[in-house]
Amino acid sequence: MIALTHIRRRDARRRHIALSLLGALTLGAALLTLSVGQTVTPLPRVIAALTGTAPDFTVSVLRLPRAVLGALAGMCFGMGGVAFQTLLRNPLASPDIIGISAGASAAAVFCIVVLGLSGAAVSLVAVGAGLGVALLIYALSWRDGVAGARLILVGIAVAAMLQSLVAYLLTQAPSWSLQEALRWMTGSLNGARLAQAAPLGTALALFGGALLAIRRDLETLRMGEDMAAGLGVRTGRTRLVTVCAAVGLVAFATAAAGPIAFVAFLSGPIAARLLRRGGSLLIPAALTGAALVLIADFAGQVLLPARYPVRIVTGVLGAPYPVLFIIRDNRTGGSL
């Protein structure tokens, strides 16, 4: 009994340490984004600019939207991704691999290029399309229940189809809407505006809050459907809320920053590795996602010879990770 309390206390301490580490990393990356760019602004001046005592154009107009939007989008991707991975009990079942991000992208590009919509309407349609694609993949992989491997393979095929649809729509785009439409494909924080942060922040609060409210049920669901039902979890409702909230998070983040490759996929497993065990991964994964986006964006902007959009960096750096999974043969793996 004493040993158990000891282990629990150690796990809790580990969790606190990991969380503060992630928080510090995110904050550090955000400050780095704010202070380093074409020119370097010393930290005291950044803080002075943020508090409003000494306004600085570079910091508050050029760099602040980038940092805020990057952090928010990263949180949404991380939390949405880990919710899917937890629900489907497979680290490979992340929205960017099984085509949900591609669905949101395709719908948004369709709205911009063909229907000529912009702004909030596009985001709403993207969320709807993401949900539709999630349902479609689920239905297509249903055969006496849904097996993880089948769902992932079906998702890869659906993603390929949607990506070619996006490629076609972009060839049809008139030049004035090409720029906006391209953002849906490339995933970039270039052209981030502070006005975009409000809807994204609202989505994060709303959907993230919903996920956090049911996080205990979601954790219990990891033990299996029957076990969870036996423990009093309303499994149907939990699944529904999780899928809707996770798709909402991913689609809104995609609407703001484009489909940034692999962030949704990577955040959960990295957070799981840091925490080892115990407790919900939602918040750690959100922090990991924010740190990932900010660091990758910083690398693309400052560290590399040319200025690259963030998705290029995450795409190249993130690819080895699924490879590691394959090597570990974790294909039906119960946990992250």
Partner: protein, 330 residues
Amino acid sequence: MTARRALWLLALIGLLGVAAGLSLAFGARVTGWQDLRNALAGQVDTMGQAAVASRIPRTVLAALAGAALGLAGGVMQGVTRNPLADPGILGVNAGAALAVVIALATVGLDSAGLYILVAIFGAGVAAVTVYTIASLGAGGASPLKLALAGAALSAALASLTTAVVLPRADIAGLVQSWMVGGVGGATADRIAPVLPFLALGLALSLLSARKLNLLALGEDTATSLGEHVWRARAMAALGAVTLCGATTAVCGPIGFVGLVVPHLARLLFGVDYRWILPASALAGAALLLMADVAGRVAARPAELDVGIVTAFIGAPVFIWIVRRRRIAAL
């Protein structure tokens, strides 16, 4: 059995002929029978005849590319013993594309032969990488692992390709249109340099048909029957990679043809690769021709690139294959 197979083979040849005819007749304008016949006889006097004459290189290229991709898909499914193998899904086309883009951006490539060699090199590196990754770990190269390794590698290669192109506005437009995958804009000058490579790939692939039959029995059985398993695999894979690389160099990455066609061939001809491979080549040519015609008719007077049409035909077939099998077999 052989009579039935011969009949199916004739039917495929007929289908290919019909598809080629459609490809010559349909476009932004529909050409009549009279014009078609006169144009094939070499006249270019009327609008219709000129249109047909301009469609000839495109039709030839679509047929060649379709045959090469279909054949390559059949060989890859044989080598990996994997029903989901396809040059697009395994990232082989993406590898060829990246190699070409890097070569374009750095040295500027003006020789067509060099261009194709670079593409074949890229395709080969990607194929070996994907297969190695998927073979690591317990259980060997299962279809799920191969597909995931291919998808992951494709994503990384696509990111790298964009990274190479982005700072180079001068080649961005060229690469953007090439990356979609299409046979439009074909000319005899562009097709000619690729022919020797296609012939080499064709010969290597068809020669390995018998070896693939042995490989299908399993590694151990094939070895005990006196086959050098790795040599057979290497030869067949070299053939497939040559075909994919050469096709991608001219048309850009076109996916899913190599996935769909061998399954069709297997339905019609059984499990013998000596029949599956030629049938895959014929059916691939017919499929790509018809996809190209569909793309031209659907979006008239503009056109839909054939790579997009094949994705829409191929992805449902992929899903069908995945659904048909028990998950243990995946």
